[in-house]
Structure formats: C-alpha cells, structure tokens
Amino acid sequence: MMETLELNGLSKIFNAPPDREVVALKNVDLQIASGEFVAVIGPTGCGKTTLLRIIAGLEAPSCGAILLDGKPVIDLHRISTLVFQQYSLFPWLDVLGNVAFPMEMKGIHKKERLKRAEEYIALVGLTAFEKAKPYELSGGMQQRVAIARALAHDPEVLLMDEPFGALDERTRHRLQKILLQIWQEKRKTILFVTHNIDEAIYLADRIIIMATEPGRIVAQKKVSLGRPRDRLTEKFTKIHLEIRNIIEQSA
C-alpha cells in the first residue's frame, strides 16, 4: 500500500504564562497508508487532540511538516476534516442542511447537494430524520449526522476526536459498527483518537500509543484480527493487556 499521509517531525509548543513553555507534541513522525484505520490512544494531556487539530489545520505546528503523497499539503481543510467529541451540528439547520453544509461551501448546486446529502444521511441510517433539528436528536444520532456531514466534505483523511466519548456503551458499540461499515464502503483513511483501549482494538488496523510530558509517540501496535472483531476472544484481551502495559509503563 502506498503511504499517503506523512507526518514529519511535528512539534507543538504552547506559551503558558508566566514565561513557561508547554511541549504539547515533540517530534511526532507517522506514516498512514491510504485507506488505513489508525487509532491514537494515550492519557489526557498526551497531545493526541493537538495532533488531530494540527492535521485538521486548526492549529499550526511549531515545526514539522505534513505531506500527502510526498508533497507538502497547502490547504489542510481540503484534504481532511475533523469530527469533534462535542456535538457540533449547527442548531439552526436541520439534518439535511447540516449534511449539505460542506457541499454548500464548495458551491455545489442546491439540488445536487441535497440529493447527495440524502445519500450520506442514508449511509448513517437517519433518512427518517432528514427534516429534524439537532436538538430533536439523541447524542448518538447527532454524532451520526456529524459523521455524515464529514463524509459529505469528501476528505482524503477523516479525523475523529473521541467522537463516541460522550455516548453510553451500547450506543457507542452501535456507532463503532456503523463507522466500520462506512469505512469499508468508502475506503477513507481514518485517524481516530480515543482513550478507550477496547474501542481502539475493535476499530483500528494499527494503534499508536502516546505518552505525556512531552506529548510523543511511544509505541505502535498492529491489530491483525479479522473483522468483525469479537471483544470476548482471547486474542482481543491479550492485545488489550499489552496496550495497557505500555501505557502504564510510559506513564
């Protein structure tokens, strides 16, 4: 597989008053293949969200570069988009309007973008709620709409910052299944931040483990289990323990 997304020595230093510097990220190198599902896991403050925000173009790195197919990326918003942990739907728009939003930004004709938005909404199984407003939806439904909206942007890389973090376990498991289905159908590259080891193993091809002070990558772990994965198998639990050990040792 060709390596599409390449992070080269990414660092981020925040200035914290008075005269203190916080190294949120130090020298992060990472290659992500096209269509790969990568999970990033680590304790609070390890810079995983900062890493995602840099790739999403919301934060400029202090140094380092992001390359796509070996070329520096000029407009990160064009190649990637971010699904936030918080419910980020625009409350003044209905589901259809939210999902059509990124296509509206691209200047796609109204009829065309509504038609395509309907397809993305169907993909997350919310066709019956096209006309609903965000406040009428449950948290899980809102995140499904947020995923549909992110897909409607049609990015090369889908960045997800603990998108299921605020949901109850059953809903989370359902959304994980839906996400895997979409990923297998659309073959997007996904970089998924979580602090839930179980979630990372269930979803990802590869797990990146980060540690704090300074925020850095300490280990990587390939998950070579067939899909759909069963959380109750011995292999699954073994990987779970391995990752937990790495996290505890690096703390």
Binding site: A56, L58, W92, Y135
Partner: protein, 295 residues
C-alpha cells in the same frame, strides 16, 4: 420577552362544576378586569360630567372609530400615526444599518471593541430623550425632503425631520449594538471551527455561521430598540417645534382640552407599541426557535 406561563389545565373544574369564575370559558377570563375598568371609567365620567377632564368611553370610541376624520385641524388620527411610524422606521433603519455591522465588528475584533467600547459606555447612561433639545437646536426643522434639496415633495418625507431621525437613532443604538455584540461574542468556537474544517472561507463562516448564530440576539436588540424608539418619538413630538405626529396630536388636544382625542391617542400609542413588539416577536420566534430549544 419571557414566554407566557402556561396556565393550569381547566379540564376537571368543569366536571366538579365549580361555581362562579371557573365556569367561564378560558378566553373570556382575561376580559373581565379590562371590561370592569371600562365600566368604572364610564360611570366615573358620567358622574363627574366634565369632558374636559375625563372623557366618556363612548366619546373616545367615536374618535377611534373615525380614524380618517380631520381632528382639530391637524390631520386625521391615521395620518398622524403614519407620520410617527414613518419617522420611527426611518430612524430605526438607520440605527440597524449602522449598529448591526458595527456590533458584529466589535463582537469579532478585540481591538475595535477596546477602542469603541469606552465611547459606548460614555453615552449609554444618557437617556435618549435628553438628546431631543440638542437635536432640535442642531437640525432645526430640516426635513428629509430638504436634505435632497427640495422644500416640498408632497410626500410624507416632508414631515420626517432629520432631528427626529437622529434621536430615534440614539434610542435604538444601544439595545441593537449591545445585543449584536453579545450575540456575536456568544457564537461558539466549536461552530466556527467545524465550518473551518469543512473548508468554509472567512466570508462563508461569517454569512453561514456567525450571522445565523447571532441572529436571535440581534433580533432581541431590534425588538427592544423599536420599543424605545417608539417611546422616544412620542416624547419628541410633544415638544415645541413639532408640527405633526401622534405625540403632537396628543399635546395639541391637551391644549384644546379635547380629552377624548387625547385618550384616543393614548390608546393608539399603546396599540402601536404592542404591534411593533409583537411583529418583531413573531419574526424572532421563527428565527430563534433553535436557541430556545437547544440543550
């Protein structure tokens, strides 16, 4: 304005056949006291028998029911109401056109906010009515028509004085400006960041995120502003130098002791204030529904 509190359901009261007021249809219950008020007024007026002090309800009604009749040589009730309304709306439009963009800039730019805010705070405690004499001195009786270089245009603009527009502008300025600033400052970073990661340009973020997100607060500002503008114009028209308008008519009928016209004017002023408020409220409810229901 706060939503009206929902009254307890009256379903069971009918079954238990409670006597008296509870048996009245719900819609009628609100009319009892106003009706009583009118009756007491009418009886008082008949008993006093001094129409130069307290006019009879029927006399006031007679004025209200003939709104196109010329009153004491100052034009009809309708004409004077329209003149006041046009003044308010002209001044109000100027206030909106200036204050909404200014408020948006002040809400988004910290530097501009720091620069302009002291000026805002300096003038804010000043009652807009205090500006009236100053406005009359500066603008005299210059009308909008004269602004275009003609003395008379035979349109309603002949009755819209620059000074009036000026003070209405001041009346609307602060509620509109402050609510707009508040609305824009309340736009969540999450929404603008979401728009950014979905490739929205700066202009698109402004038109498609900041403006719709701030619109409920802006409309609240407009509603408060139009209420103040309406009060201010009545006061301005009551002062010497005014030649028309509902405020002028009320003052003139006072001088002639035509109390039935005076009270009719009061009714109209109240009704117009209510209508302006309600109109904007309906618009605002439609636009701001998400704000009220948002978690």
């Amino acid at each position: 304005m706060k939503p009206e509190p929902t009254l307890p359901r009256e379903g069971n009261s009918r079954k238990t056949a409670a006597p008296g007021l509870k048996r009245l249809p719900i819609t009628l219950q609100g009319f009892i006291l106003p009706g009583l008020f009118l009756i007491v007024w009418e009886l008082g007026a008949v008993w006093l028998d001094n129409p130069a002090l307290v006019p009879r309800v029927t006399a006031v009604l007679a004025v209200l029911l003939h709104p196109f009749t010329d009153l004491v040589g100052t034009g009809s009730l309708i004409w004077n109401t329209v003149v006041s309304l046009v003044r308010v709306l002209t001044g109000f439009v100027v206030a909106v056109v200036v204050c909404v963009p200014l408020g948006i800039f002040m809400g988004t730019s910290k530097i501009l906010h720091r620069m302009v805010n002291p000026l805002v705070e300096m003038f804010r405690p000043l009652c807009p009515i205090a500006w009236i004499p100053f406005a009359m001195a500066v603008f005299k009786t210059t009308t909008v028509s004269q602004l275009f270089g003609v003395r008379y245009t035979d349109t309603i603009l002949d009755s819209v004085q620059i000074g009036m527009i000026f003070i209405i502008f001041w009346g609307g300025l602060f509620p509109i400006l402050l609510n707009t600033i508040h609305g824009v400052a309340g736009v969540r970073t999450l929404w603008t960041e979401t728009a950014r990661v979905l490739s929205a340009s700066k202009a698109q973020i402004f038109w498609k995120v900041i403006l719709p997100a701030a619109l409920p607060a802006i409309l609240t500002g407009l509603r408060i502003g139009v209420g103040i503008a309406w009060m201010v114009i009545i006061a301005a028209e009551m002062l010497p130098g005014a030649d028309s308008g509902i405020g002028y008519l009320i003052m003139y009928s006072y001088e002639l002791a035509e109390m039935q016209i005076l009270v009719a004017c009061m009714v109209v002023i109240g009704l117009m204030g209510l209508a302006l408020n309600r109109g904007l409220q309906i618009l605002s409810n439609r636009v701001s529904r998400w704000k009220a229901l948002e978690r």
